[in-house]
C-alpha cells in the first residue's frame, strides 16, 4: 500500500473510531447530570437508578474512548511528524488545555462511577457537573486544533517555515467558533438519539425498565433541543466556508463552475470528468442564497482552483448530503414525537412512532461521522490549508501499510469484544438493562 494513502487511511479510521466513543463521552455526562439533578429535585428515585444503570456500559465505552484517543495522539507523531514539527508549537496549546480537561474528566468519572458507596447523593450529582463541563471543553479544545488546520493563523511563512509564532492567535483561528459550536452540539444530538432508540426498542419489546418512558423523554429532549441549534449552526458553517474555505464548499455542494445565482444540488453523483452532477435535483439560486444571503451572489466553483488543489466532490458532496439528510430525518421524528406528546399530554407509545425513533437512532452518529468526513476530505490535499500538503507532513518511515493493518486488527478485536460484552445476555437473567422490569411495568 502506498505510504501516504496508508497513513491517511489509518488516521481517518482511527478518528472515525475514536469519535464514536468521544461523542458518548461528551453526551452521556450531560444526560447523567440531568438525570441526577432531576432525581434530587423531584425526589424520584427512578432518575437516579436510570443514571446508575447507564454508568456501567458507559465505563466500558469511556475506557475505549481513552485508549483510542491515546492511539491518536501517538499517531500525530508516527504518521505526521513533519506536520507536528512545524505545527506543534501552534496547536500544542489547545492539546495542552485539553490535557487538563481529560484529567478532570477522568477524575470525576472515577468518582461518579465508583463512588456509589463512598459519596452522598448530592456529591454524586455535583461530580457530574465538572464531568460534563470538562467533556465539552475537551471537544472544544481539540476542535480548535482541527479548525487551525482549516484556517491556519498565528504565524508568518518564511521560506516554507512557520515564523513569528503566536499560539493564542492560532488557537483563536477563524473556523474555531463555528466548528466548536456545531461539533459539540452534534455530540448531544447523536447521544440523545442513540439513547432514545435504545429505550424505544425496549418499550416496543415490553422489556423496558420502570423508568423507560422517562429516559425516552429525557433523551429526546436533549436531542430535540440540539437539532434546531444544529440547523442554525450548520447554516452558519456553510456560510463561513463560502468565504474562507471556498474549495470545500464547492466540493460539498458539487458546484463545478463559478457563477452567479448558483443552484443548490441535492443528491446525485458528481462526475469530475464531465463536471456534471448526474441524477441530482437542482434548485436555482439557493446555493447563492445560503452562502451569501443573496440569490444572485457569485459562488466560486471547483474550477476556481488548480486541479491538484481541489478535494474530491464525489466524497465530500455525498457525505455532506448524508449529514443534511440525516438531520431532516431526525428532525422529523423528533418533531412528530413532541407534537404527539403535546397533543396527548402523555408520553406517546404508538408502535409506529416508537419504530421511527428506533430507525432514526443511528442517524445522529451517521450525521456526525459524515460531517467530519466533509471537513477532512474537504480540506484535501492540504494538511494545513494553503500551507502544507499532506505528502509533506507524512512520516519518512516506510511500512505504514503494516502499521495500518496492525491497528485495523486492534480496532476489529476491540469492536468484537465490545459487542460481545454489550449484547450477550447476562448470566443471571434478572440483571442487565431490563432487570428492573419486574417492579412496575409501565
Amino acid at each position: 500500500m502506498d505510504n501516504v494513502i496508508a497513513a491517511r487511511a489509518l488516521m481517518g479510521v482511527s478518528l472515525g473510531f475514536h469519535i464514536i466513543y468521544a461523542t458518548i463521552g461528551i453526551g452521556l455526562p450531560l444526560m447523567l447530570m440531568l438525570a441526577e439533578g432531576l432525581s434530587l429535585r423531584t425526589g424520584d428515585e427512578r432518575y437516579h437508578r436510570m443514571a446508575r444503570r447507564w454508568i456501567r456500559p458507559a465505563g466500558l465505552l469511556f475506557a475505549i474512548g481513552a485508549v483510542s484517543g491515546t492511539i491518536l495522539s501517538f499517531e500525530l507523531g508516527f504518521l505526521w511528524p513533519r506536520f507536528m514539527e512545524q505545527s506543534g508549537p501552534l496547536i500544542g496549546l489547545p492539546f495542552w488545555l485539553e490535557g487538563y480537561a481529560f484529567f478532570l474528566e477522568a477524575i470525576f468519572l472515577g468518582l461518579y462511577a465508583y463512588g456509589g458507596r463512598r459519596l452522598s447523593r448530592r456529591t454524586l450529582f455535583l461530580c457530574t457537573i465538572p464531568l460534563t463541563v470538562a467533556a465539552a471543553a475537551s471537544a472544544v479544545f481539540v476542535i480548535s486544533a482541527n479548525a487551525w488546520m482549516n484556517t491556519p493563523a498565528g504565524f508568518r511563512l518564511e521560506g516554507g517555515i512557520l515564523a513569528d509564532i503566536d499560539p493564542l492567535a492560532a488557537m483563536a483561528n477563524q473556523a474555531w467558533a463555528h466548528q466548536a459550536v456545531h461539533g459539540t452540539l452534534a455530540a448531544y444530538a447523536a447521544t440523545g438519539f442513540a439513547m432514545a432508540g435504545i429505550y424505544a426498542l425496549a418499550l416496543l419489546r415490553g422489556r423496558a425498565p420502570d423508568y423507560g418512558k422517562k429516559a425516552l423523554v429525557l433523551a429526546l429532549a436533549v436531542a430535540g433541543l440540539s437539532l434546531p441549534l444544529m440547523l442554525i449552526s450548520g447554516d452558519r458553517s456553510a456560510a463561513f466556508l463560502a468565504r474562507h474555505e471556498k474549495a470545500k464548499l464547492a466540493a460539498a455542494e458539487a458546484h463545478f463552475e463559478t457563477r452567479a445565482g448558483a443552484p443548490l444540488i441535492i443528491g446525485g453523483w458528481p462526475d469530475p470528468e464531465t463536471r456534471k452532477v448526474r441524477f441530482g435535483i437542482e434548485i436555482p439560486g439557493l446555493l447563492s442564497l445560503f452562502a451569501f444571503r443573496d440569490p444572485d451572489a457569485v459562488v466560486t466553483g471547483l474550477d476556481g482552483f488548480p486541479p491538484d488543489e481541489v478535494p474530491d466532490p464525489r466524497l465530500v458532496h455525498t457525505f455532506f448530503d448524508l449529514m443534511v439528510a440525516s438531520f431532516f430525518f431526525m428532525a422529523a421524528v423528533a418533531a412528530w414525537f413532541w407534537w404527539r406528546r403535546w397533543r396527548e399530554g402523555e408520553v406517546p407509545t404508538s408502535r409506529r412512532l416508537l419504530w421511527s425513533v428506533v430507525l432514526a437512532a443511528p442517524f445522529g452518529m451517521i450525521a456526525l461521522e459524515s460531517g467530519w468526513l466533509v471537513t477532512e476530505f474537504g480540506r484535501q490535499p492540504w494538511i494545513v490549508h494553503g500551507v502544507m500538503r499532506v505528502e509533506s507532513g507524512v512520516t519518512p518511515n516506510a511500512g505504514m501499510g503494516a502499521v495500518f493493518l496492525t491497528f485495523i486488527t486492534v480496532y476489529a478485536v476491540l469492536t468484537v469484544g465490545l459487542l460481545q460484552m454489550l449484547l450477550r445476555q447476562p448470566a443471571s437473567e434478572q440483571e442487565g438493562d431490563s432487570g428492573e422490569a419486574r417492579h412496575d411495568q409501565p
Binding site: 475505549i64 491515546t70 506543534g88 500544542g92 472515577g110 468518582l111 469484544g417 448470566a427
Partner: protein
C-alpha cells in the same frame, strides 16, 4: 540561569515520573495478576483489580501529558523520536489498548454477571509487554543509536534494540512490579498483606539488580551515557536511589507499610531523575539538545502561563479522588 526549555524538560520528566509512579503501579497490578500464586491467588487478583478500578483512567492521562508536552515544547524531539522509535511505540500502544479494554471488560462483566470474552485475558500479557516496550523507548533516547543527519533520521528501523535498551525494558517492568505490591500493602490486611509485602521485596531486589546491571551494560553498549553517569548530579541520584531501594526493603521487612509505600515511589522517582540528569542537556543523547529541540519562546511562555491554572484545578481534584478511594468502602452508605 535556567532556561525556559530546561524548565520544559523538567515538566516532561515530571510527567514521566508521575506516569511511572501512578500508571506504572497499574501495570504492576497486571503483572502480579499474571504471577498471582499461592493459596490466596484469587484474593490477590481481586484486590489488585479493585484497587486499579477507580483510578486507572486518571493515571493513564499522565501518558497523554507526556506526549503533549513533548510535541508542544519539543516538537523536533517529538518528530525524531516518533520516526526513529516507531516499532516500540506501536507495540506499547497496542498493549495499552488491550490492557485498558480488557480491564474495562472484566469490570463490566463482573458488574452485570456477563461472561468476559477471551481478549480480557490479555490484561496480564499486555501489562507485561507495555512497560517493557516503554522502558525500551525511554532508554533508546540514551542508547546513542538514533542518528540524525541534516534534520533526517538516518538510523536503521531496528537500531534501537541494544543490550542497554533491553535491560531498560526490564527495568520498566521491575518498576511496575515494585510499585503495585508496595501500594497494595497499605490497602490490605493479614495474610494477603504479607503476600504483597513479599512480592514488593522480591521486585525491589530485582529492580536494584537490574539498575545496577544497567551500568556495566551501558559501558559496553552506550559508553557516553555510562561516562556521564559518574558526573556529580547523576552520581548523587544513583546513590540516593540505591539508598531509597534499601530503605524500602528495610521498611517492608519491618512492616512499616505507609513509609514503605512512599520510599518505593521515591526510589522510582530517583531512578528517573538519575536518568534525566544523565541525559541533560540532551533530549536525544549526543544528537539533539534540549535547546535545539525546543519550540519558539512564545510557545514556551503560554505553556508555562497555563501550568499554574491547570495545577490549581487539578491538585484538589486529584487529592479528592485518591482520598475518596483510600481505604475499604464505607459499608453504611448504600450502594449507588
Amino acid at each position: 540561569m535556567i532556561s525556559l526549555s530546561d524548565l520544559g524538560a523538567a515538566v516532561l520528566l515530571l510527567g514521566m515520573i508521575m506516569y511511572a509512579a501512578f500508571g506504572g503501579a497499574d501495570f504492576g497490578g497486571g503483572i502480579w495478576t499474571a504471577f498471582a500464586s499461592g493459596p490466596r491467588k484469587k484474593e490477590q487478583r481481586e484486590s489488585l483489580f479493585h484497587a486499579i478500578g477507580p483510578v486507572w483512567e486518571t493515571n493513564h492521562v499522565w501518558l497523554i501529558f507526556v506526549v503533549v508536552v513533548l510535541f508542544m515544547v519539543f516538537p523536533k524531539g517529538f518528530a525524531y523520536l516518533f520516526i526513529a522509535l516507531l516499532a516500540p511505540l506501536v507495540i506499547a500502544l497496542v498493549g495499552i489498548n488491550f490492557r485498558g479494554a480488557a480491564f474495562a471488560f472484566r469490570h463490566f462483566g463482573r458488574q452485570t454477571g456477563r461472561e468476559v470474552p477471551p481478549i480480557a485475558r490479555t490484561f496480564s500479557v499486555a501489562s507485561l509487554l507495555t512497560p517493557f516496550a516503554l522502558g525500551m523507548t525511554v532508554t533508546a533516547a540514551a542508547s546513542e543509536r538514533i542518528r540524525i543527519v541534516g534534520g533526517e533520521v538516518v538510523s536503521a528501523p531496528w537500531a534501537w534494540i541494544t543490550p542497554f535498551t533491553l535491560v531498560g525494558g526490564l527495568v520498566g517492568m521491575a518498576v511496575c512490579a515494585l510499585l503495585a505490591p508496595s501500594y497494595m500493602t497499605v490497602r490490605t490486611e493479614g495474610a494477603l498483606q504479607d503476600d504483597f509485602r513479599k512480592r514488593g521485596m522480591a521486585a525491589g531486589w530485582t529492580l536494584g539488580v537490574l539498575t545496577l546491571l544497567e551500568i556495566p551494560v551501558a559501558f559496553l553498549s552506550a559508553p557516553h551515557f555510562a561516562a556521564k553517569l559518574f558526573l556529580p548530579p547523576s552520581l548523587a541520584c544513583v546513590t540516593l536511589a540505591v539508598a531509597g531501594g534499601l530503605t524500602t526493603q528495610a521498611l517492608l521487612l519491618k512492616r512499616k507499610y505507609l513509609p514503605a509505600q512512599i520510599a518505593a515511589a521515591g526510589t522510582v522517582t530517583l531512578v528517573l531523575l538519575g536518568f534525566g540528569a544523565t541525559m541533560y542537556p540532551d533530549l536525544i543523547l549526543g544528537e539533539l539538545s534540549i535547546d535545539a529541540a525546543a519550540a519558539p519562546r512564545e510557545t514556551l511562555l503560554v505553556f508555562f502561563a497555563v501550568l499554574p491554572f491547570g495545577a490549581a484545578l487539578l491538585a484538589p481534584s486529584l487529592f479528592f479522588l485518591y482520598w475518596t478511594f483510600r481505604g475499604p468502602p464505607n459499608p453504611k452508605t448504600p450502594a449507588g
